[in-house]
Symmetry: C2
Subunit: 262 residues, 2 copies
């Protein structure tokens, strides 16, 4: 892998220049990746409450002051307007645009939320010998909307979204024990082996542009809470205006995975 | 439940008198239960190595000095010849007798091994709201022989035996995290949801007199290493002479489950 794909600063520089508008899955292994949600100040308190009540899909890594697009904690000086490969604009609960730079949309009342992402522990699983095609091929992982309702807060309510990985039955306990250590990257799975049990009827076809899940004999699907959940909530709750990352196209921080161990 | 079924000393007294020759499943919740293996001194070193190499099925709680049937550590003063509800005598790899007292078989060269048992964490799972019919009905849990080979030591080799519980798919991560804390009671599961993957073809019919597994919709079978393994090894390896407990009919110690948390 090229050097700039291993180093968050280098990667963000290329992204800012427009050289990488693809998924960040598999890039900068060992560094913490993040989902992005940007909301006007008038929605920020209730969304913060939403995160506090739904820590599994929405583990908070950093929240910016209103109007400030520059990060201080997880990647000092990074610019949220330009440093992600792709963004989505939601208006009244509809996805109206996908773009690679949101500078023209920036306003003085915007608050940004960086939420942990399961891309982070994929590096650990890969190193432990789990086969993760989305990770090795830099593709968005397999994602499903469930029938599990998030706990509401103000105008924010909607279904839990999950990412899925194919895990050998004999290694399921191990994958639980590996990922529980990273609550800030969604932690341990929320469900194992029975998609219908959480309202997934179109299994194994991924939503949100992810890779369909390939199950080998002896493997079961294992499901983790996913930071795409706020996008499903924006749609379900018809939130007037929200910017997010494009699924799989994450913010890559300077935090190492060791820094977020519980 | 009667008082004497809650208190290990009281229970052992009743067992000694011949008042309880049934499974100890569900009895004395919160106390550590143990598998028993008794071997002549000439086989003791190699069996100790077998336990050291196979800690998942054979977690060691106590080993007695040759010739001494009285425990010192996990239940001071308890007599291994009388204080279990039922025993099995194996000769040349064959089960030749089931009895409730082994006083007449005792010899000066016998070494006893007390190995942790999953009955111990059933109390924790029950308290956490998992439905465990074998626990509430004082029956031997569901048990299967797998095609996983234990690591051999001297004359001891054979297949891993597992106990199985029906767990809702959504609570499988939780059951892993609850049981991993009790490595001395077999720890976390070794397999989830795919019996054929570990050579179980007669699922859900229990071996060793256990309760057949009843799976409700949305539940998966979850498998833990089991202390019946040495009995399968005695048969597979044609060990000349071995005494064990009868499956499900365990030694109930004075240790509390809190004392064996990893």
């Amino acid at each position: 892998m090229e050097e700039w794909k291993l180093n968050p600063k280098g990667l963000r520089e290329r992204i800012r220049k427009g050289d990488w508008a693809r998924s960040t899955s598999g890039l900068c292994p060992g560094y913490v990746q993040a989902n992005l949600v940007i909301l006007p100040r008038e929605f920020a308190l209730e969304f913060l409450l939403f995160c506090e009540r739904n820590p599994r899909p929405c583990p908070l890594l950093e929240v910016t002051d209103p109007g400030n697009p520059i990060l201080r904690e997880i990647a000092q000086g990074a610019d949220l307007r330009t440093d992600l490969p792709a963004y989505r604009i939601f208006k009244d609960g509809q996805l109206i645009q996908e773009i690679t730079d949101i500078t023209l949309f920036w306003r003085d009342d915007l608050v940004s939320f960086l939420l942990g992402c399961s891309h982070t522990f994929d590096a650990i699983l890969h190193r432990a010998g789990f086969v993760l095609p989305h990770f090795t091929e830099n593709k968005t992982p397999c994602v499903f909307t469930t029938d599990i309702a998030c706990k509401p807060a103000g105008p924010f309510s909607g279904p839990l979204v999950v990412s899925a990985r194919a895990i050998p039955a004999t290694r399921i306990p191990e994958v639980v024990l590996l990922t529980v250590r990273y609550k800030l990257a969604h932690g341990e799975p929320i469900h194992v082996g029975y998609p219908e049990g959480i309202g997934i009827y179109d299994f194994p076809r991924s939503e949100y542009g992810g890779t369909d899940l390939q199950l080998a004999p002896g493997e079961l699907p294992v499901f983790w809470a996913c930071g795409i959940t706020p996008q499903a909530v924006a749609v379900a709750s018809e939130i007037p205006w929200m910017i997010t990352h494009k699924p799989g196209h994450m913010f890559v921080s300077d935090l190492t995975i060791e820094q977020i161990v519980n």
